[in-house]
């Protein structure tokens, strides 16, 4: 919403400066986006007087001038043909920033003659296109004075600051200069000028009638529609002051008839429409459009409407989209002689819906969907009639009205004590009443408060508290501490939140860089990770490659890795903790911690090292799980993981039916899709699937180390090459769960000395006696049991 200070002063009697008004507007909820002071960039320029102007000794087209700045005389070289003795000019001295270039002026030498300033053209000051000569100020301009007022005098600069205010959607009433003046007046920054609009007496009955053709369920679409015919008008340009005023707020001047409606819309928030009466066939009707009914609108586009859109029609066709945009065929143009002026009130919700559906942005829609003042339907019509008669001549008919004004707003029972108990500030009762009344509310002695007809956003006591507080001053509301529950704040994170945090810090501590990526990815990529179905599609994606809710975080990380690899960073450790989606239903999402390693082993002078391979990420995964649960992972690891992993180099950790994590090298075909040319391995931890550890209180179990020496024995078994080492470890452990502390595989060998299809697996068994040192016989018996367990898996002891 734009207006100038002088326009505001048409409605507000105030001495306040633009800056004061700006601050006040923001503090009462009308946020100032900007105040443009037209002279703001010209503060350093002063008025100069040319004393002498001679030909430049070394150039024919240049003049060598002496210019007075009120105190001193400066030598200036100037190329303007109108530079001559006696004129008053706009003088820039060294250091002054020239608006057109943005550069500060320097002392220069032009053809060997020093020039200590510049006399400016309109274009150099960004005041116009004129660059044929320097600006000539009026003769009474005083040398040495700042140039702004002299420029205003000369008609080159507006002195009027321009306000741009952002209006919240609830404040349709503030989408008018008058409405803004009313709020400012209520806040004490001046006096509102109210002048009742005088009706124009009709000279003849309107030859056109209006009907409201609505079914009962659509009756509230347009409760009132008024109009009148004005005959014998002569359309042309609006008066200059009107054109200037519209231009000052960035609106185009079109013709007297259109400008009249635009001026009233901006000034009073009342949209109107002018039909060329001669182009209307028969009478006017407000009704719902038929499905597929078409209207050629003023923006020269044809809109196909539906039965939820209100139209203004004549006897033949829909002629305009009500409250949004008029029709081309019946608009008023240069040759228009007889007009029908429309002023109506439309249901904001229907206007909003239709405007959104048709994607039309117009000033009328902006105001109607926020709600205009129904009580101003008739005054607006009269005001516009006056302007048209004044600017275009002609004579007006009687006013015709269909329907009736909607009933006034319901009174609100208000307890003024709420201002303190809810608004947090003490305001005297008189002041509460004064504020509400200044805003147009009617307050009776029992604090029954009726909102004014122009406010559609006030329907409860809290709204009234807001009105009082915003006008009285939000800054004055004292801050009050919340009551403190515990002297020492209690912990607040849930178990799962602590887990997420542990996973995050744990992975970062292992050298992973945390990423945050979009929750949506390309459908083709989603398909590779078990997603990409219709239920996980976005209906209105921001880009075609961001159209699917991700089924996994890995594709997001792989895409990130590919982008980094393209920049020359191929060896990466990336992770993200976030949502992966199982469908498009709320809550069908799981929290996943996913990580990848990409690239080859580091090139290092010591050789060796590991790249993005299975056992690197297995170690990462187990460390992360330990960070999450606080204990080493004991759940079994089984071979294989979903299709996006390498079929032979991937595994799954599950507790019963619940998959806790999956890991492995990524499938080469998947990597190719992401155009990733280095190996990649990764894992996914399903944080929600990890069961809570049973709480055993804060005390740790007693530390009870065995006093007896542990012993270590190695066994090498020859087994089927396909047998999982984990099975052997499990079998060995089962030999005696109490005595055997750990079993670790330290060698796996296939080749010479081991039959084809077999492998040798060597394990170190640490035996920890608890009650007494083991005798040789006992150790031998345990060894026998260990071997026997392995033999059940088809193993033989390697000799």
């Amino acid at each position: 919403m734009k207006f100038t200070l002088s326009w505001l002063k048409e409605h507000l009697d105030t001495e306040a400066s633009a800056a004061e008004i700006g601050d006040r507007l923001t503090s009462i909820g009308l946020e100032v986006e900007s105040i443009t002071d037209p002279g703001a960039g010209l503060k350093d320029f002063i008025v100069g007087e040319v004393i002498t102007a001679e030909k430049h000794p070394n150039a024919d087209k240049l003049r060598l001038c002496t210019v007075s700045d009120g105190k001193d005389t400066l030598q200036i070289v100037c190329g303007a043909p109108n530079a001559r003795a006696g004129i008053k000019v706009v003088l820039a001295r060294p250091g002054t920033v020239i608006p057109a270039t943005g550069d500060a002026l320097k002392i220069g030498k032009i053809r060997d003659v020093e020039s200590r300033g510049m006399m400016c053209s309109a274009r150099e000051l960004l005041l116009g296109e004129d660059h044929n000569g320097i600006i000539e100020l009026k003769a009474n301009a005083k040398p040495g004075a700042t140039v702004v007022s002299a420029l205003v005098e000369a008609g080159l600069l507006s002195s009027d600051p321009l306000f741009d205010v952002s209006i919240t959607p609830n404040r349709g009433d503030a989408a008018s200069v008058f409405g803004i003046a009313r709020d400012l007046a209520a806040s004490g920054l001046g006096k509102l000028k109210t002048e009742k609009v005088q009706p124009v007496a009709g000279k003849f009955p309107s030859p056109k009638t209006i009907t409201l053709d609505f079914t009962p369920e659509n009756k509230d679409a347009c409760p009132i529609f008024a109009g009148r015919l004005i005959r014998g008008v002569k359309n042309g340009p609006a008066p200059q002051w009107v054109q200037d005023r519209l231009k000052s707020v960035g609106m185009k001047s079109i013709s007297a008839l259109v400008d009249a409606t635009n001026l009233i819309a901006q000034d009073r928030g009342r949209p109107l429409h002018v039909f060329d009466a001669d182009k209307l066939s028969g009478n006017l009707h407000a009704r719902m459009a038929q499905d597929h009914e078409q209207v050629l609108a003023l923006d020269e586009k044809t809109y196909v409407l539906d039965s939820e859109t209100i139209v203004i029609a004549d006897d033949s066709f829909a002629r305009g989209i009500a409250g949004i945009m008029g029709g081309m065929d019946t608009g008023s143009f240069e040759d228009t002689k007889n007009v029908f002026l429309e002023s109506a009130w439309f249901d904001p919700a229907r206007i909003a819906r239709a405007g959104r559906k048709q994607a039309i942005i117009s000033d009328a829609r902006y105001r109607f969907e926020r709600g205009v003042d129904p009580q101003f339907v008739l005054p607006g019509l009269e005001l516009c009639t006056q302007l048209i008669l004044e600017w275009c001549g002609g004579e007006a008919s009687d006013v015709v009205i269909a329907g009736a004004l909607p009933p006034p707003h319901k009174p609100i029972a208000f307890d003024p004590a709420l201002v303190e108990s809810f608004g947090g500030i003490q305001v005297p009762r008189d002041e509460i009443k004064r504020i509400l009344e200044a805003l147009g509310f009617v307050v009776d002695s029992n604090w029954l408060v009726v909102p004014p007809s122009w406010r559609h956003d006030v329907d409860g006591p809290a709204d009234l508290v807001e009105e009082v507080v915003r006008i009285y001053g939000l800054t004055d509301v004292p801050s009050v501490p919340l009551a403190r529950g515990n002297a020492v704040a209690a912990p607040v994170l849930s178990k799962s939140q602590r887990r997420t945090r542990a996973a995050r810090r744990g992975l970062a501590a292992r050298g992973f860089n945390e990423c945050v990526t979009f929750s949506f990815i390309a459908r083709d990529q989603a398909k590779l990770f078990g997603g990409g179905d219709d239920a996980r599609q976005l209906s209105n994606p921001i880009a075609s490659d961001l159209d699917a809710l991700r089924p996994s975080i890995l594709p997001s990380l792989l895409a990130a890795a590919a982008r980094n690899a393209a920049r020359g960073f191929a060896n990466l450790q990336l992770f993200e903790i976030g949502a992966a989606f199982e469908s498009g239903m709320p809550e069908a999402q799981k929290t996943v911690a996913a990580a990848i390693r990409t690239g080859h082993a580091e090139r290092h002078w010591q050789k060796g090292g590991e790249g993005a391979e299975l056992f690197a990420v297995k170690a990462d995964l187990l460390a992360a799980l330990e960070a999450i649960t606080g204990a080493p992972m004991s759940a079994p690891i089984t071979q294989g993981a979903p299709a996006w992993y390498h079929p032979g180099r991937s595994g799954t950790i599950a507790m019963g039916p619940k998959v806790i994590a999956q890991f492995g090298e990524l499938h080469p075909k998947v990597l190719a899709t992401f155009d990733l040319k280095v190996p990649a391995a990764g894992f996914e931890i399903f944080l929600d699937a990890i069961p809570d550890a049973k709480s055993k209180g804060k005390a740790k179990p007693l530390f009870a180390p065995s006093p007896f020496q542990a012993i270590e024995r190695d066994f090498a078994f020859v087994v089927d090459a396909k047998l999982a080492a984990g099975e052997i470890v499990k079998a060995v452990k089962q030999a005696d769960r109490a005595l055997i502390d750990t079993v670790s595989v330290f060698d796996v060998y296939e080749g010479k000395g081991v039959p084809d299809g077999k492998k040798s697996v060597a394990v170190a068994v640490r035996i920890q006696p608890k009650d007494a040192t083991l005798t040789e016989t006992e150790i031998e018996a345990l060894a026998q049991k260990i071997v026997a367990g392995a033999v059940k898996l088809g193993a033989t002891l390697r000799s």
Partner: protein, 359 residues
């Protein structure tokens, strides 16, 4: 006497001349060995008279002890020399690089969230979470945003395709539906923050289709605007970790709060590319807030006659950008390794109130 002294000096010379362990061993055998010179001398002790034994005995024993010590000393000397020689041969060039370990980092969003949680935990706020895909009802209707409300145009919503059961949902446009869920499931008093990902159909230099919000909600008896002001002020002061912070509340509009206010912070942007807080003539928008609308409380089953509440919401990404001077929100989600390392935080820099939120 002279014999013993001469013998001793001979032996000691021999020991100190021993160039290696073998020569030293030979010297030991030649002196203290069964047939060694010192042993032979000691063997003569039995044949001496008691008087002779009194004078000669200590001399003999002295010789034996001196030789034993000398051999031990030489042995240790030789050992040290050998170890020194070996260690000298093991010298490595310490300027060669160790195996590199990647330095992991925490994303600024996560770090800033931990900072926010630390502050609010101190004020007794829990952390509530909810799904990214939301019911239209929770994201809009329960928050007093009916289908045709102009406010829905303020938020360009991502819609998810219709589901098997015919229902259709949205990607939450704010984390307020988490407030709804909390109010539906909890009896007041309520003090929570709801952080999380949010989505709007918007993408340009200052907007990303995905961003993060943190909202706070308090519902209790006797809560008023003054409590809201205090909480926002305390939070901002603690979060930005600067003393001279100046906040401005200005009236605004949100369908879910009444009264509604927005918060700005005084700053100086006169130097291009730089923001200084607490001074200057510019105001920077922080976020929105207000007293929870009566209809929202009622929609969520809370008796608005008995309870009142306030809520506010700030952009986490924005908070991170302001505090740590990051210019572009889009780069948050691009996972450029250089950016992650440049703006990321060390894994063990866990924000605490006792240690300070940031270094």
């Amino acid at each position: 006497m002279t014999d013993i002294a001469a013998l001793q000096s001979d032996i000691l010379a021999q020991i100190s001349a021993a160039a290696d362990e073998a020569a030293l061993e030979a010297a030991r055998v030649g002196t203290l060995g069964k047939k060694g010179s010192v042993s032979a001398l000691l063997a003569t002790m039995g044949k001496l008279t008691p008087e002779e034994r009194k004078t000669q005995g200590p001399l003999f024993n002295g010789l034996r002890d001196t030789v034993t010590e000398a051999i031990a000393a030489r042995k240790s000397q030789l050992g040290d020399a050998e170890l020194d020689a070996r260690l000298a041969g093991e010298t490595l060039d310490v300027t060669l690089p160790a195996r590199s370990e990647n330095s992991g980092t925490i994303h600024p969003i996560s770090q800033v969230l931990d900072e926010v949680v630390a502050i609010f935990a101190e004020l007794g706020f829990g952390v509530a979470e909810g799904p990214d895909v939301e019911f239209d009802d929770y994201n809009f209707t329960k928050l007093n945003i009916p289908p045709d409300h102009p406010a829905r145009q303020m938020q360009d919503t991502f819609y998810v395709a219709p589901q098997a059961d015919g229902s259709s949902h949205v990607l939450r446009t704010h984390t307020s539906p988490v407030q709804v869920r909390t109010m539906l499931n909890t009896k007041p008093p309520i003090r929570i923050i709801s952080p999380g990902r949010t989505y709007r159909v918007d993408s340009d230099a200052t907007h990303s289709p995905m961003f993060h919000q943190v909202e706070a909600l308090v519902v209790d008896k006797g809560i008023h605007l003054g409590h809201l002001k205090w909480t926002v002020e305390q939070f901002c002061k603690a979060f930005f970790e600067i003393d001279q912070i100046e906040l401005r509340a200005r009236p605004s509009f949100f369908p879910f709060t009444e009264p509604s206010l927005e918060w700005d912070m005084r700053c100086d942007r006169s130097v291009p590319g730089k923001i200084t807080f607490g001074t200057g003539n510019d105001w920077l928008e922080l976020g929105g807030s207000g007293m929870v609308h009566r209809k929202v409380l009622e929609n969520c089953g809370i008796d608005a006659g008995q309870y009142s509440g306030f809520a506010f919401g700030f952009g986490l990404d924005r908070m991170a950008m302001l505090k740590y001077g990051m210019p572009d929100i889009r780069s948050f989600f691009e996972s450029d390794l250089r950016w992650l390392k440049h703006y990321g935080f060390q894994p063990l820099d866990i924000p605490t109130l006792d240690g300070g939120l940031s270094r």
